[in-house]
Amino acid sequence: MVSFAFEATDVIKRFGDVKALDGVTLKAEQGKIFGLLGPNGAGKTTLVRMLSTLTEPDSGYAKVLGIDVAEEPNKVRKLIGLAGQFAAVDEFQTGRENITMVGRLYHLPPDVIRKRTQELLESLNLAEAANRSVKTYSGGMRRRLDLGTSLIARPKVLFLDEPTTGLDPRTRLDLWAIIREMVNTGTSILLTTQYLEEADELADKIAVIDHGRVIAEGTSDQLKKRLGGDVIEFQLSNPKDSQKALQAVAKLAVKKPTFDENTLTVSLPVKDGSGVLAEAVRTLDKAKVELANLSVHRPSLDDVFLSITGKKVEDTKAGNHEKGRV
């Protein structure tokens, strides 16, 4: 039987009175990107720390490639790489020295370390700065170096805890490309993020976590379908038409259509957007409703998160900083 890249079963972890993880169960297939999505304080970091052997579960168990992290942590450590939101690099050493040092601590042969360090520096676009002290690096460079050190042993499972938090859009795109490349070489990845678009873009499977519990799980498409399909949005030319319009389209909707007075937009949740669109237009035309704009869209992960947790991801971002590092 092929084991899972990583798995958690009924994992509970308390910090004092706070339950950071409150019965988390999830399984990730090998060779895929598993996205863990949730606001600050949801328990994402705690779960990553547990899977990377930094903290043990109070109850339940966590495994990486079938090996229990609490029972055989050193076996797990040989198979994993960890990179996080705080670049865990040594300021006083150069980029090359940082990667080399970690290679030694994985007990790789010197010639392998030398060769791979050079490859990593080049692929992470750090070759020019390789022999400069990390103190002179920008935030994005540090983050890339941090990722590089976690890749030196070619880990089978890579844990990336909010790798792009606080990075500028360009650097984020660069990192996305590197992450995709990693998966193409067979690495399994756990990616935690607060950015829905990031999970949407990269993850093969997503678990939404809030208050230490997995509250939804599936592919991006599956999660979106939970909202009941698509939304047809049309903007009215004349605000007086709103009642008329709502009545006209009500029979097409799977949920009650809504009207936003500020944007003069009617949102019409339907099962199959493109299939219903033509009929919606005919119905509105018959009711003599004049339209300024018309669109169909699938719900974003933002909508999914909002509907599951009752709050937007952004709302929860500013507050309670998650305990712990990396």
Binding site: L54, G84, F92, R104, H107, G324, V326
Partner: protein, 261 residues
């Protein structure tokens, strides 16, 4: 088994190099940390030297001969405080989590730090011996015994580095670790035979001063460097003390390191 030991040593050495690189990239750190003991040596020698030298307590009639071993004890002890400061600093940064997630020895982070601080202590000790010689200090008991004295001093600092490591790993804040470290070493250095004989201290203080490690190591160092016999049992008590420190504080440091945040 053999491979495990080999990895353990390799990891400690890798971490030692990491800390030594820090000193070479920050030469001002080594510079200023040498200035302080030179200042102590200079001030003590010329402020107290005149009064003490004539009392006959000083071997060879020179206070510098009495003082230098004591100053060295103080220097390695102060150097040991750095271990805690450095580890507390690491604990504040993501890098300690990186180390803890690697298949490396659980003792290497502290081992590398204590060994690096011992090497640093060797450098500062050599500088002080140079200045001491300039002020008139002479080894009076042969070359071998001179080396043994230096070795004892370094071992002493190494042992206290492990106490300091536990302080740093527990407090997790470099400034607090510095304050706590010095608070801990100050009474040991001053209420001791490091700078002056304990015989003029009040009885209650003598009871402490005569029975604590800085006095043991200062007296032991004087025996090896100058041939002045230390009180009976000094070496035994010193090594029991150091052995006790290793036995208690190495496991304690590893426990604090492993402990999840």
């Amino acid at each position: 088994m053999y491979e495990a030991v080999q990895n353990e040593i390799a990891d400690i050495w890798t971490m030692t190099k990491r800390n030594l690189i820090r000193y070479t990239r920050l030469p001002q750190l080594l510079f200023f940390s040498s200035i302080q003991p030179i200042m102590f040596l200079t001030l003590f020698n010329f402020v107290f030297g005149g009064a003490i030298g004539s009392h006959g307590a000083a071997p060879g009639g020179k206070y510098i001969n009495f003082l230098l071993p004591g100053i060295l004890a103080q220097v390695v002890l102060f150097g040991a405080v750095n271990t805690g400061i450095g580890l507390a600093d690491d604990m504040n940064k993501g890098i300690i989590d990186r180390f803890r997630s690697l298949p490396m020895s659980r003792a290497a982070v502290m081992g590398g730090r204590t060994v690096a601080d011992t090497i640093r202590n060797l450098v500062v000790t050599s500088i002080l011996l140079g200045f001491g010689t300039l002020y008139g200090f002479r080894f009076m008991n042969g070359v071998l015994n001179a080396f043994i004295m230096v070795a004892i001093m370094l071992l002493f600092g190494f042992a206290f580095s492990w106490i300091s490591a536990v302080i740093g790993l527990t407090l997790k804040d470099p400034e607090t670790a510095q304050l706590a470290g010095f608070l801990f070493v100050f009474p040991f250095t001053f209420a001791s035979a490091a700078f002056l004989p304990t015989s003029t201290m009040p009885g209650w203080l003598q009871a402490f001063a005569n029975n604590q490690p800085v006095t043991y190591v200062s007296n032991a160092a004087r025996e090896f460097a100058l041939g002045v016999p230390a009180p009976d049992g000094t070496m035994l008590k010193l090594f029991l003390f150091l052995g006790g420190i290793f036995l208690i504080f190495i496991p304690l440091a590893i426990r604090q390191y492993k402990r999840s945040v």
